[in-house]
Subunit: 456 residues, 2 copies
C-alpha cells in the first residue's frame, strides 16, 4: 500500500491527474487478458516525460512499483499489478509530435493508438504498418514487441522502432537509437527495450519507421479442402519469394463465427486471406502468381477484394474474429494464446493443436499470421467454470511446449506478462537468468512492472 507520504507526493506531482477512486482502480485491473490480478493502488496520468521521471524518483523514494498502461489490450496481464503499485496511464501522452516525410519517420508519444496515428498520417502518403488487430497504443505495442497481420511484409515492432526515449527506474531519461536508418554504435538498447514490457523502464517517446502507402492494393480470400493444404500453400508462397503484405489463416470454426458475426459468406473451409501491395503491375503479377500456387494446392472459391470498401470489409471481418468467436458461445470468456514455429513445422503444429483442442471438448477456433509461423487459439470457456478454465490453461501450456519442441517460441507476438512467465525457463534455459541479470542491472530494486517476464 502507499504510505501517507507517498500519497502526498503523488498528489503534489499530479494533482487531479492522480486517483485512488475504486472505479478507476478497477478499470485498470481489467485488460483483455485472461490473467487476473488485484487493482493497482493508484493511477496517474502523466502529460510529459519530466513528470514520468519525477514519478520514478518518487517510486524510488517510497518503494512503490510502476506499471505502464496503454489501451489495456494486452493478453498476458502485462499491464496489471499483481504485486500492487502505481499504474502509469499514458492516454494523455498521445500526440504525434513530428512527421519527417523525407526520412519516413514519425515521432510519437506512447499513448497514441495505431489507428489514430495512421489517420493523422493519411495525407502524407506514408503509414505505420504494424497491425496487431486491437487498437493498441504505440507504447504498448513497443513494450510487447507486437506484430500482427502485416509482419510478414513489414516486420514487427522490433523492425519498426528506430529509437526511444525511456525513463529508467532511478528517473534518468535516456535516448536510444537515432534518426539514421541503421547504426553499429554499441549495444542495441532500442531492441533491448522493445519487448521488455516496462520491466526495464517506461517508454515516453518513440521514433518510428514509416512506409510508403502502396500505390496499389489487392486482397483475396480462398478456401482449401484441408488445413494442411492451406498451410502448405503458405509455405510455397513464402518460399517463392512473393512479397505478401498479409497472409492469414482461418480454420472452419473461425470462418463460421466470422460469417455469423460479420455477415460474410466465406465457404466453410479452411481459408487464407491474402493481400498484395505494390505498383499496379506488381500487384497484378503477385496476385496471378499466388493464384497459380494456391490452385496447385486445390484452392477454390477465390473472392477478390480490389476496391477499398471490399478490402475494408474483409479485414474488418478478420479483426472482428476475436469478438465473432466470443459471440459464438454466449456466456463464455476466452483464453487467447499464441505461439510461433518455424514455417516447416506449421502444418504439424496446427494439426496437433487442433486434435488436442478437439479432445478437450472446449471450443477453440484457430487462426493466425501463418506467413511467419504464428497462430492463435481462442479457447472459449464458460464464465466461472473452473474445470474448463483449468483445461484451457493446460491446452495453452501444451501448445507452448509443442512450439518449443518444434524449434519455436512460446509467444510470437502477445508477450510474456505473468501469464507465460512459467514457460520462460523452458524456452530460454540459462538465458532467462541472463535476462534477470540485465533486469537487476537496470532496476536493482525491482520496481518496474514487477512479477513480469523475468524471475523474481
Amino acid at each position: 500500500m502507499l504510505s501517507d507520504a507517498a500519497l502526498a507526493d503523488l498528489r503534489a506531482l499530479f494533482g487531479a491527474r492522480f486517483s485512488t477512486a475504486a472505479a478507476v482502480l478497477q478499470a485498470h485491473a481489467q485488460s483483455e487478458s485472461h490473467a487476473a490480478a488485484p487493482p493497482p493502488w493508484a493511477v496517474v496520468w502523466p502529460e510529459k516525460t519530466a513528470e514520468v521521471s519525477q514519478l520514478a524518483v518518487l517510486s524510488a523514494r517510497h518503494g512503490f512499483p510502476l506499471i505502464g498502461w496503454g489501451a489495456g489490450t494486452s493478453l498476458e496481464g502485462h499491464a496489471l499489478a499483481p504485486q500492487g503499485g502505481v499504474t502509469v496511464d499514458f492516454t494523455r501522452m498521445d500526440r504525434l509530435l513530428e512527421v519527417r516525410p523525407e526520412d519516413m519517420i514519425a515521432v510519437v508519444q506512447p499513448g497514441i493508438t495505431r489507428e489514430r496515428l495512421n489517420q493523422e498520417l493519411r495525407a502524407t502518403g506514408l503509414f505505420f504498418p504494424v497491425d496487431p488487430g486491437a487498437n493498441a497504443t504505440l507504447g504498448g505495442m513497443a513494450s510487447t514487441r507486437a506484430s500482427g497481420t502485416t509482419a510478414v511484409r513489414y516486420g514487427t515492432m522490433r523492425d519498426n522502432v528506430l529509437g526511444l526515449e525511456v525513463v529508467l527506474a532511478d528517473g534518468a531519461v535516456i535516448r536510444t537509437g537515432s534518426s539514421a536508418p541503421k547504426s553499429s554504435a554499441g549495444y542495441d538498447l532500442t531492441a533491448l527495450m522493445v519487448g521488455s514490457e516496462g520491466t526495464l523502464g517506461l517508454i515516453t517517446e518513440l521514433t518510428l519507421r514509416l512506409h510508403g502507402q502502396p500505390e496499389a492494393v489487392s486482397a483475396a480470400a480462398c478456401g482449401f479442402a484441408r488445413m494442411a493444404e492451406a498451410v502448405e500453400c503458405v509455405i510455397a508462397t513464402i518460399q517463392a519469394g512473393l512479397p505478401m503484405a498479409r497472409i492469414e489463416f482461418l480454420d472452419e470454426a473461425t470462418v463460421a463465427a466470422c460469417n455469423a458475426f460479420s455477415g460474410t459468406d466465406l465457404a466453410l473451409r479452411p481459408q487464407l486471406l491474402v493481400e498484395f501491395h505494390g505498383s499496379p503491375a506488381g500487384v497484378a503479377e503477385q496476385a496471378e502468381r499466388f493464384g497459380e500456387i494456391a490452385s496447385g494446392f486445390g484452392a477454390v472459391g477465390f473472392q477478390w477484394a480490389r476496391a477499398q470498401e471490399e478490402r475494408t470489409r474483409l479485414w474488418a471481418m478478420r479483426h472482428g474474429a476475436y469478438r465473432a468467436i466470443l459471440a459464438s458461445r454466449p456466456g463464455c470468456r476466452a483464453i487467447v494464446t499464441d505461439v510461433c514455429v518455424p514455417i516447416s513445422a506449421l502444418a504439424a503444429a496446427v494439426e496437433e493443436t487442433r486434435a488436442d483442442i478437439a479432445a478437450s471438448g472446449i471450443p477453440g477456433p484457430i487462426l493466425g499470421h501463418v506467413g511467419d509461423g504464428n497462430f492463435h487459439a481462442i479457447l472459449l470457456i464458460r464464465e466461472g467454470d473452473a474445470a474448463e478454465a483449468a483445461a484451457a490453461k493446460a491446452l495453452a501450456q501444451r501448445m507452448a511446449e509443442r512450439a518449443l519442441r518444434m524449434g519455436g517460441t512460446i509467444t510470437g507476438e502477445h508477450g510474456v506478462g505473468f501469464g507465460k512467465r512459467g514457460l520462460m525457463a523452458a524456452e530460454h534455459g540459462a538465458g532467462w537468468q541472463v535476462m534477470a541479470a540485465v533486469k537487476r542491472a537496470l532496476d536493482p530494486e525491482g520496481r518496474m512492472n514487477p512479477g513480469k517476464v523475468v524471475p523474481d
Copy 2:
C-alpha cells in the same frame, strides 16, 4: 602476462592449437584497422563450443582477457588486444552446420566467411545477403552488426540473425532466439549480442535468415553532374518505394581510383551503382522507374549490367574501391571511417564532409551505401606522417560529430572497437552508462574484449 599456471592450463586444453609464437601473435595484432595495439599474449584455435566454454572458465580462474578473432577485417580495432589477453581465433570453427530450405534458415559456426557460406548455399536457391565488402566471418559480422551494399533491401546483421549460441564470461553457454521467424518471449538477447563486439560473450553458433536467390537481377551505373543530384536521386528513389537491392554512391575521386585499378571506364562524375532483384517483369519495371527518376536529376551515361559477368565486374570494382583508393596514393595507408545520417541530411553531410576533407589537404574519396544514409571516407595518409595521421583522425572525429548534429550516428556499420569509443558519450549520453551497467551484469570482471565499446 599469462602466469605459468595459465599457460599450462591453456596448453593442456588446446595442445598444438595454442601458440605464443611471435609471428602468430603479430599476425593477430594487425587488422584492417587504423587503430594500433600491442600483440595478444597468446592465440588459441577452438574447434567446438565446449572448448570455448572451458576457455572462459580458465579466463575466470586466471583473470586473462578473451578477444574474439574472425578474419581480421574490422576497422576500429575490435579484434585487437589493447589490454593484452588471449585471442580466440575462430577459423577452425568454420562449418555450415545445417541448411533448412523450408524455413530459409542456415546454422553456421562463427568462423565461416560470407563468401564460403554463399558458395555452399548456391545449389539451394537461397543466399545470405549481408555483404560488407570484405570477406568477413559471420561471427565477426554479427559482433559488429555489419551491413553493406545490400542492407537497403535485406537489412543488416540485426535483421538477419535469428538466434545465437553464446559463451558467457563464466563459461555458461546460452542460446538466444529460436528458429521461429519472430518472438515476443522476453528480452531480445539476440539483438543485445549482435553488435556487442565480443564484450558480452563469444558467439559460437549463429542461426541465420536466408533469402531466395532472385529470379532476375539487373544492375546499372549512372553519372550525375554534381554529388547533390546523385544524393537527391537516392532520396527520391527510396521515397518512391522502389525496392532497390543496392544503391551505392561513388564520388569522382573514387571513380578515378576504381577506373585505374579495375580497368573500368565510368565517366569521371559522381556515380550511382544500383541493382534490382525480383521477377523478370518486376526488375524491368523497377529499372524503368529508376531510370525515370534518375533522368529527372540529370543522370547520364547509363551503363547496364544485365549479364552475370557484367554485374560481377561492376561489384568487383565496387568492392575493390578500398584497394583502388589505397593504390591511388602509393606509400600511404588509409583511415577508413563511416557515419550514417537520416537520408534528408545526406546531401549536406556528404557536402560538408567533402569541403572539410578538401580543406585538410588529405586525399579522402567518399563512397557509401547511400540508400540507408551511410557513407565512408577513405583518408589516405603517408605512412609514418604523424601530422597527416592527426589531421585524418580530426577529420574522422568531425565527421562523426557532424553526423550526430544531423540526428545520425557515429558509425553505421563499422562499429566502435576502441577507435570510436571516445565518441560514445556524445552519441548516447546517459545511455552509455546503461550499456556499462549491462556489461557489468554479464561480465563483472571485464574479461570479455576489454577496452571496447563501453567505458572502463
